[in-house]
């Protein structure tokens, strides 16, 4: 009969060296996760995103020939709220910004969009697979504060793309400043981006409010593209306007995050100041632009 092993003093034993303690098992069983797809909680699929990047790259490079200025001002880590002007009947600026940042900085960008997207079959699903998220303060907060992501938002909403060509590069109202409040609450900077080129890629010649009402859309325009390419192709083909994007200095709000309430007047002032900055940058860029098509 083998001699019993001498008792080991657990307190003095070298940590994990001498004694084989039974492995500590949690009370609850380890949750299993038999996922089959890579669709994340936001509906984004990195595989779909990669495919979309591949398909979109020629558009980005050869049709719009996007050119960035100040891309280094976009933080390489941590959350930030990207804010840009919004234009073209079917906005061409969101994919350009998202594609540009993802390919240049290797950071995913989540684009906040009107819930109209989500209610449209196919469009809504595709949009969410490539990084679109319904614009809801909770979504923005979670992405920015808890997941430290880049979030793109167009504070003009649908008023930007809905404007007539004669109003190009004149920024609409920046909503009710909700984007500033979210950035304050999430404790992240706002990074303004001025985009030149989108306006001319699908300019609106005529708005038909009756048609918009009939289909429950925010606006239903006739564009130059419709005249050139017909009603169907004209709704998806862009004119080859030269894109120039200027990233402005990030705006840090010196204010405590997670407050239950932020001063509405401060929020509105900050929103207006950011709007002014983008507006001035646009005028500056347009002054030096020699051609709509060649920049």
């Amino acid at each position: 009969m083998p001699a019993p092993e001498p008792p080991v003093d657990l307190d003095t034993a070298e940590h994990g060296a001498l004694v084989h303690l039974p492995r500590v098992t949690d009370d609850a069983a380890v949750p299993t996760d038999p996922r089959r797809s890579d669709v994340d909680e936001w509906g984004r699929s990195e595989r779909m995103r990669a495919l979309a990047r591949q398909l979109y790259d020629p558009v980005y490079r050869h049709l719009f020939r996007a050119e960035w200025e100040g891309l280094d001002k976009i933080p390489t880590d941590g959350g930030a709220l990207l804010v840009a002007n919004h234009a073209a009947a079917i906005p061409s600026d969101a994919p350009v910004i998202m594609h540009g940042i993802e390919t240049e900085l290797q950071r995913p960008v989540y684009g906040l969009a009107d819930n109209l997207f989500k209610s449209l079959p196919f469009v809504g699903t595709m949009w969410s697979r490539v990084g679109g998220v319904t614009a809801h303060p909770d979504n923005a907060y979670r992405l920015l504060r808890e997941q430290h992501q880049l979030v793109l938002v167009f504070p003009e909403g649908s008023k930007g793309p809905a404007k007539h060509y004669s109003q190009r590069y004149r920024l609409r109202r920046f909503g009710r400043g909700g984007f500033v409040e979210i950035a304050m609450r999430a404790g992240v900077p706002v990074v303004p981006i001025a985009v030149v080129g989108a306006e001319e890629s699908m300019p609106i010649l005529l708005n038909i409010p009756q048609l918009a009402k009939a289909f429950g859309l925010p606006y239903a325009p006739i564009t130059a593209n419709h005249l050139l390419f017909g009603p169907l192709l004209g709704s998806i083909l862009y004119l080859p306007a030269k894109f120039k994007l200027r990233v402005l200095d990030p705006v840090h709000f010196d204010i405590e995050p997670d407050l239950p309430r932020y001063s509405k007047s401060r929020v509105m002032d900050e929103a207006e100041a950011i709007r002014q900055q983008i507006q001035e940058a646009l005028f500056d860029m347009l002054r030096t632009r020699e051609s709509v098509w060649f920049g």
Partner: protein, 349 residues
């Protein structure tokens, strides 16, 4: 002195399961179950009282049995099970009567736990990806079941305000999946082809039946009052849910979906109520972190719940339904519980 618990809906899936779980808990002294239907699962020491959903005898039972805890599981969340009038009677009128009895003068009730549903959040394109407990729904309720559950929650809020000495816990459960539970979604997933809405692939969240029962016991044990979402971690697209179940999808038109599903209902293939169609278009996620912060640990993620459900369906498909069908027999139950001839083990001191 142990808890003296009253469970509503003892004849339903949840009432029976909750009572079974309570029986295993030695700190629970008395379990009284109400329902107009007999229990569908074998119970050892639960006392079954036949009562309709108006709970007219409830105040007397509470007084007579010194009930201190009410677990209200009898809320209808599957609107295909009955007419909306009947559902209104059970959910709204039933809860109203129950709370009136629990809050009556001299009532011994100190804890009320209500099993509600994430249906109260609705499913709309405007919704956030995750609903927190305090996030309001995006649009007013459209469906009867949502309306009735919101009314129930309203009564419960009033009750909690009027009875500050009572711990009131409201649990909102996500889509529940389990091997033995039938819901509109489980029926859809058991079809040879899983219905989906063309052009939509929303993200779904699930909670396993065990986690539902465990969460109810958890809030009893830890005495956590308030409002809690109960749902497994993670969201997964409906197409992936079908894939885990090993099924292909068939597609319903994205517009007039309700009209298109009417023949399916007539032919008894599958009934998709309007709240399920909304879900098949827009999905819904509820933030489960508040209950986790209170200390609850889930056994299953959303995907885990789906996988286990799929395995159970597969097994049933192969070996058939061999569940021993329990039938409640009043005389037999009374004999085992109360006859002096039965030698009962003394409860451990």
């Amino acid at each position: 002195m142990g808890r003296r618990v009253l469970v509503t809906g003892l004849g339903t899936f949840w009432g029976g399961r909750v009572a079974q779980a309570l029986e295993r808990d030695p700190s629970v002294e008395v379990i009284v179950g109400l329902d107009s239907y007999e229990p569908s699962v074998p119970l050892e020491r639960t006392e079954y009282v036949r009562a309709d959903e108006s709970y007219s005898i409830l105040a007397r039972i509470v007084r007579a049995a010194h009930i201190d805890t009410v677990i209200h599981t009898f809320l209808v969340v599957d609107s295909t099970m009955m007419s909306s009038r009947k559902m209104h009677e059970i959910n709204v009128i039933g809860t109203m009567n129950l709370l009136a009895a629990a809050g009556a003068a001299g009532s011994t009730v100190r804890t009320v736990v209500v099993k509600s549903s994430s249906l109260v959040y609705g499913a709309q394109p405007e919704d956030p990806v995750w609903f927190r407990e305090q996030t309001p729904r995006s649009k007013p309720p459209r469906t009867r079941v949502e309306q009735s559950l919101l009314e129930v929650e309203g009564y419960l809020r009033d009750f909690a305000e009027d009875n500050p000495h009572v711990l009131v816990t409201l649990l909102r459960f996500s889509n529940v999946l389990g091997p033995e539970l039938t819901t509109p979604l489980s029926r859809a997933l058991e079809l040879p082809l899983v219905p989906a809405v063309l052009g939509f692939d929303p993200r779904f969240q699930f909670v396993a039946t065990e986690d539902v029962i465990r969460s109810i016991l958890f809030v009893l044990d830890h005495e956590v009052p308030g409002l809690y979402n109960v749902a497994g971690d993670g969201l997964l697209p409906w197409s992936e849910v079908a894939a885990i179940c090993g099924k292909r999808q068939f597609f319903l038109p994205p517009y007039l979906t309700g009209v298109a599903t009417a023949p399916m209902k007539t032919l008894r293939i599958c009934e998709l109520p309007p709240e399920t169609i909304d879900l098949l278009k827009y999905g819904r996620g509820i933030d489960n972190r508040r209950l986790k912060r209170a200390g609850f640990r889930y056994e299953f993620t959303s995907a885990g719940a789906v996988e286990r459900f799929a395995q159970a369906v597969r097994l049933r498909g192969t070996v058939g339904d061999h569940e021993p069908q329990y039938r409640y027999q009043r005389d037999v139950e009374a004999f085992f519980r109360h006859s002096p001839a039965v030698v009962r083990e003394e409860p451990a001191p």
